[in-house]
Amino acid sequence: MRTLIKNGMIINANDSKKANVLIENDKIVDITLDEPKADNIIDANGKLIMPGLIDIHVHFRDPGFEYKDDIISGSETAVAGGVTACCPMANTNPVNDNATITRDMIKKAKKRGLIDLMPIGAITNGMKGGSITEMGEMSEAGCVAFSDDGLPVSSSDVMRAALEYSAFHGSFIINHSQDCSLCRNGHMNEGLMSMKLGIKGMPREQEEIMISRDMLLAKLTGGHIHIAHVSSGWSLKLIETAKKEGINITCEVCPHHFTFDDSYLEGYDTNYKMSPPLRTKDDVKAMREGLRNGIIDIICTDHAPHHLDEKEREFDKAPFGILGLQTLIPLTLNLVRDGVISLNKMVELTSLNPAKLLKLNDRGKIEIGYLADIAIVDPEFEYIYDENLNKSKSKNSPLLGKKLKGAAIKTIKSGKLVYDFPNVVV
């Protein structure tokens, strides 16, 4: 089975070129100006051929909260967003804190076969913050990293052990950076806007304090700390310092944190409620600068489905989190349109760097011999992101019903067409 994608513009992290891509079975076998024979031909004239996006931070709610999303609907949502590999966080029920659950999750995803599911295991048993999990066995079972995401690891000693032990197994730790003693039951960023709205806030310092601690523990242990969903400008200053000092640290940012600021909360819309919360315009600016200057390694979504009944509530009673997979490409393309990053940088942030972080050396590039994980993107395509397009079981996106620009119009996973805008083909 051979597929030829012709007339498209190939975007890699280091260059762009117009060429045809020949896929045989699950691999890219040729990149050429010729038109070799193929069983399927996809005309990508005017479109971008990008390596499939790799989202290292999603919540698929499976097992335990399948009414919000499950591995199947999560996979469908991912490919509809051009994403061909996802790392679901461990805050499921039961928590993904042992190899059996890890294997079950991977098996379920394989059966549907739309994406590669690479689970992130819990750092501590039951995510209770105490004893660390069997990271060795879980890594063997397929866990690519460890995180109690949703909750920080509050004990410095536990975090130290986790960094040491994960490093021994060639893995790394992702922390949800939050000093809980500063949370004060907050529901949004603490600042002028929270004062105005009369909603209790969480100061950005709670994030910065935890990042400071974790970079010091990474220094102590030599372990690799990856900072999840950075949201404050000062966090980036700290990470920049740590990187300059040679500390083993990386970080990610979510599209909502480089797109929205806390002024969007004016109407108490719970679809703008997330953790870490939307910060100020200055922080948004800092996120964009961090993406431009390379302090930020990765863009990921923190795709966090919640049922309408849970989100359509009083603001302080609604859960944190919004959908992200299907808005990743249009919101990131906004950065390109605004001149913040190039298309090549976009590929680096959404595909090549995540592949490197996860040590996947056959992904993140459109290159001969690489896996044929491809997103064919139309950057100019305008559409309403409505309920027909939304593949998640949940609807908690402030962008639902809004006009977006840019989308994956076809997604190919291991050589197979897995998404065709607006209908899933497989």
């Binding site: 004060r184 039951n185 004062m195 105005k196 009369g198 909603i199 109407g267 359509e312 603001f315």
Partner: protein, 310 residues
């Protein structure tokens, strides 16, 4: 132009004309309340639901009296008897009550934004009787009514609002309404309750003397001693009263005919010394309570007429 909304959610929505319209109507109802026959037939047959998802005897009673003076059928729906304790959502609760053909919701809720949220889900009138730390518009209006009665005008007035600004819905509603009226506002309170208060665009004072100096009216906020939040509280009541409490001695800094307001109930000896609280020449706390009923009658009158297009 008269106020045309079917809800009263925020004093931000009130123009200067709207405020005077409400105060004039409140004056009319205050007179009615002084008669032997204290009833107006205006809301005969109308069902008013006092939906209190958070405890408050005073505000609830004031609204109940106001609703009954207008001949409506006022029923109380309180959190203790509510099904929200059984997991029902706020919207489901409201929809359930609404299907019994009710007309006006008076909403007290511990969540900021709750009144706006309910208003966007019901065709009935919604009157915000306090939503979390956000707003308490009828309290602000009764404060304004009390101040207006005393001074006969809002021109060139200086009002100080003192205490827990961060958690005070009374402060927010007063600030917005007073700014609309051109009243000069000074704010003061413990530092942990004043952070980011600059967002309101009022003068921020550095101590009690500065806060009281030259004021015509002083609104002393109630310190929520019962608050059991995750926040580190101030060191002690004794220390609070020393640095943030109002005594007769400190009142000397204010203008000669200055008055004190307080949303009640008072913590005696904490934010207010008894020597000021009980001095009827300066303390207007009981007239506030009296005016509260008239203001609430005026609001019920206006929003119901707006709902029915009368």
């Amino acid at each position: 132009m008269a106020y045309s909304k079917k809800n009263l959610i925020s004093t931000k929505d009130l123009s200067s004309d709207d405020i005077f319209q409400i105060l004039n109507l409140a004056k009319h109802y205050k007179n009615l309340n002084l008669q032997n026959e204290k009833k107006s037939p205006l809301l005969k047959g109308v069902t008013v639901v006092n939906s209190f998802f958070e405890n408050s005897t005073r505000t609830r009673t004031s609204f109940e009296i106001a609703a009954k003076r207008l001949s409506s059928d006022a029923i109380n729906f309180t959190a203790s008897s509510s099904s929200t304790n059984k997991g029902e959502t706020l919207i489901d609760t409201i929809k359930n009550i609404e299907s019994m053909k009710t007309d006006i919701f008076i909403m007290r809720h511990s969540s900021s934004g709750a009144a706006k949220f309910v208003a966007s889900h019901t065709p009935s009138c919604v009157i915000n009787a306090g939503d979390g730390c956000n707003e308490h518009p009828t309290q602000a209006l009764l404060d304004l009514f009390t101040i207006y009665e005393k001074f006969g005008s809002f021109d060139n007035l200086v009002v100080s609002i003192i205490g827990d600004i961060a958690h005070s819905r009374v402060a927010r509603s007063n600030i917005y309404a007073m700014q609309t009226l051109g009243i000069k506002i000074k704010l003061f309170g413990p530092p942990q309750m004043m952070q980011y208060a600059s967002v309101f665009g009022c003068e921020i004072c550095k101590d009690m003397d500065e806060a009281v100096r030259g004021s015509d009216a002083i609104i002393m906020l109630r310190i929520q001693l019962e608050r059991s939040d995750d926040e580190t509280p101030f060191p002690s009541i004794r220390e609070y009263s020393r640095y943030f409490g109002l005594s007769k001695n400190r009142m000397k800094q204010a203008k000669d005919n200055a008055i004190i307001l307080h949303p009640g109930p008072i913590n005696r000896g904490v934010e207010l010394n008894s020597d000021v609280a009980d001095d009827t020449r300066i303390s207007n706390i009981l007239s506030q309570v009296e005016n509260g009923v008239a203001i609430r009658m005026a609001i019920l009158d206006i929003v119901y007429k707006n709902l029915k297009g009368l």
